[in-house]
């Protein structure tokens, strides 16, 4: 199925009383230097249901990206607990966290973070490279399927520098999808794109959420995009205000 071509409006919204995908309890993140202490997140409590599409908004420096890093298990909170599917992951080892990131979470970044020296197909294969027991053939099949979903099957041999911004973000979404994650974390996915491209990417994410039931947490500055999601969480100075 080519999600890029599908109409999001034709798809059913996620169930309201979905099981919990993610729970954050009393999360604090403090950056400490010799002379200064900066509170990035202050007692954040958040629950995200499976299949939800949530957007996080707030001014620059309010802690949105820090929160996304903690949810994505790329950073540790100073205090508080993170639970994924009911399991607290705070005490997990580096290896266990890496496996969880690989199997459960897909990342989409504002600046795409594609490896310029790898082809589109190789970029999309990347998360599967770190998954045990996936053969080269299977990696290729899954990557091609993911590229097909974002409508870039014809660009497998291209390099990122040969693509437009919107196409690069599609590749990044295909890479996030290739491992079959339950949760996609998108950090300002339309931030580097013009409005038309931004709409395209937003439609793609909405379709993914509705058609495949993928939970999506998106950080955005764009009120218009945020309103398309099921829930908007607002932050100010490290605290959740709504």
């Amino acid at each position: 199925m080519n999600l890029a071509a599908a109409q999001p409006s034709a798809l059913a919204p996620a169930a309201a009383a979905a099981p919990v995908m993610l729970r954050l309890t009393d999360i604090e993140k403090v950056y400490q230097t010799k002379t200064i202490e900066t509170v990035a997140l202050n007692r954040v409590n958040l629950t995200i249901g499976q299949g939800e599409f949530v957007s996080i908004m707030g001014p620059s420096g309010c802690g949105k990206s820090t929160l996304l890093s903690i949810i994505g298990l790329l950073d540790e909170p100073t205090s508080g607990t993170v639970e994924i599917e009911g399991r607290p992951v705070t005490s997990y080892s580096d290896k266990e966290l890496a496996r969880l990131r690989n199997e459960k979470i897909g990342f989409v970044f504002q600046s795409y973070h594609l490896i310029n020296d790898l082809s589109v197909l190789d970029n999309v294969e990347l998360p599967l490279l770190y998954r045990a027991g996936v053969s080269g053939k299977e990696r290729r099949r899954l990557a091609l399927a993911a590229l097909d979903k974002v409508g870039l099957s014809a660009r497998t041999g291209h390099f990122p520098s040969q693509l437009s911004g919107g196409q690069r973000q599609r590749v990044a979404i295909a890479r996030a999808l290739a491992g079959g994650p339950e949760l996609i974390l998108a950090d300002e996915p339309t931030g580097n794109l013009d409005s038309v491209m931004g709409e395209e990417i937003m439609d793609l994410l909405l379709t993914l959420n509705r058609a495949e039931g993928v939970t999506i947490i998106m950080v955005t500055h764009d009120e218009h995009q945020a309103l398309k999601t099921e829930r908007v969480i607002r932050f100010f100075d490290g605290s959740q205000v709504q």
Partner: protein, 400 residues
């Protein structure tokens, strides 16, 4: 993962060219140093081919304008030989072992031509005085007086150069390689014996082709100096040296004598040989350290340029240790490629017989260079790889 790394290296071939060149350069330098080291080591272990211990060199010089009449020279030799502690004495050319003095030529037998060959004059006692070892035939004898051609004793390696394996050598004639030797009045030499190879250069020099020509008791009235080798009993020292000088002065006050041990000559030669070797070793070490620092810098820079990629890989499921291993593996793959190129170049030396070095020495130098290059790159890549492993993914992803 290995295929992924190969693909990454191939796609980054321009960026990796500098690193590959550095590793290749260090391989070539190490191969050169290794070849020298193994050549010197192999030479050092070879037999010297003569016994220089307890052999002294007398340089007897006539006073300015004076010559050396044969009867006086014979008397000098007779009286020195008679001294207690002197075991043997012989007359030869001044190019004794370890001296910075050579006489050499090229020789020919039939269609075969020798390399540059050391040429010595020697009397009938020279073999025992210097302790040369006969392989075939004999040394010079009084009966050679009747030989119309000048008798010669050659080293085994000169024999191999001028004669086919198994070809009889005794009685054969050797000519100077100069085509017009007869026109220029040069002689032909008749081989009467073959001795084991000799290494008269230094402790680290290899066997040198050599030929001794019989010093026939011609008229010596035109001589202004004579080189004499004296074999003494073990334990003899300055007292005997002074007695020899006094004895010669007792025969004629017109001559002066310098006595020096071959061991002293050997040490002098060793010092002169070791000086450039030490300089070469210092330059080699300096180059290797530079290459190591360069590698370290390039790898460090490489990692700092790839922080976002590291953050991304961590996000995709790589562990910190996995990132470290990946960078180490990348360096090792690059090293393997550079070493393969280096081996391809250096294997030409034994294949083409360049510089006449034995293939075994080149092989050992290649092994040494391979081992040291892998060690250096692994050590240089270790710390940057650890650094890569410790990069915080969240911070790295925010940087771009």
């Amino acid at each position: 993962m290995l295929r992924h790394i190969f693909r990454l290296i191939w796609n980054r071939k321009r960026a990796n060219l500098l690193l590959l060149s550095e590793i290749l350069f260090s391989f070539i330098v190490l191969f050169g140093v290794g070849t020298l080291l193994f050549t010197f080591g192999q030479n050092y272990l070879l037999p010297r081919g003569f016994a220089h211990q307890n052999v002294w060199r007398l340089n007897i010089s006539a006073a300015q304008g004076e010559k050396m009449p044969r009867p006086v020279l014979d008397d000098v030799l007779r009286q020195v030989r008679a001294l207690p502690g002197v075991l043997d004495i012989s007359l030869g050319s001044p190019n004794t072992p370890f001296r910075f003095l050579t006489m050499n030529s090229e020789f020919r037998h039939g269609n075969r031509k020798s390399d540059i060959t050391d040429r010595y004059d020697a009397d009938d006692r020279y073999l025992t005085t210097l302790g040369l070892t006969l392989r075939e035939g004999r040394w010079f004898q009084a009966r050679d007086d009747a030989n119309p051609r000048r008798p010669a004793v050659i080293t085994q390696n000169l024999r191999e150069a001028l004669f086919a394996p198994g070809e009889p050598v005794l009685g054969q004639l050797i000519q100077p390689a100069d085509q017009g030797f007869q026109a220029t009045g040069q002689e032909e030499y008749q081989v009467v014996g073959v001795v084991e190879n000799v290494r008269p250069g230094s402790d680290f020099s290899g066997p040198q082709s050599g030929m001794w020509l019989r010093l026939v008791p011609y008229d010596t009235t035109h001589w202004e100096g004579a080189a004499v080798l004296v074999k003494v009993a073990p334990g003899q020292g300055p007292a005997l040296q002074q007695r020899i000088v006094r004895t010669i002065a007792g025969v004629t006050r017109q001559w002066s004598t310098e006595v020096r041990t071959l061991e002293a000559d050997r040490l002098d030669k060793l010092r002169v040989t070791l000086a450039p070797l030490a300089a070469l070793a210092v330059v080699g070490i300096f180059l290797i350290v530079n290459v190591a620092l360069g590698l370290f810098g390039v790898l460090w820079y490489n990692i700092s340029q790839r922080r976002a990629e590291i953050g991304l890989r961590r996000a995709m499921g790589a562990t910190g240790r996995g990132i470290g291993h990946q960078f180490l593996l990348e360096t090792m793959v690059l090293t393997t490629l550079a070493v393969a190129a280096g081996l391809l170049l250096t294997v030409q030396f034994p294949l083409l017989g360049a510089f006449g070095g034995p293939p075994r020495v080149y092989g050992m130098a290649m092994l040494l260079a391979t081992g040291v290059v892998f060690l250096i790159t692994a050590v240089c890549a270790w710390q940057p790889s650890r650094l890569a492993a410790r990069i915080q993914p969240a911070a790295a992803l925010r940087e771009e």
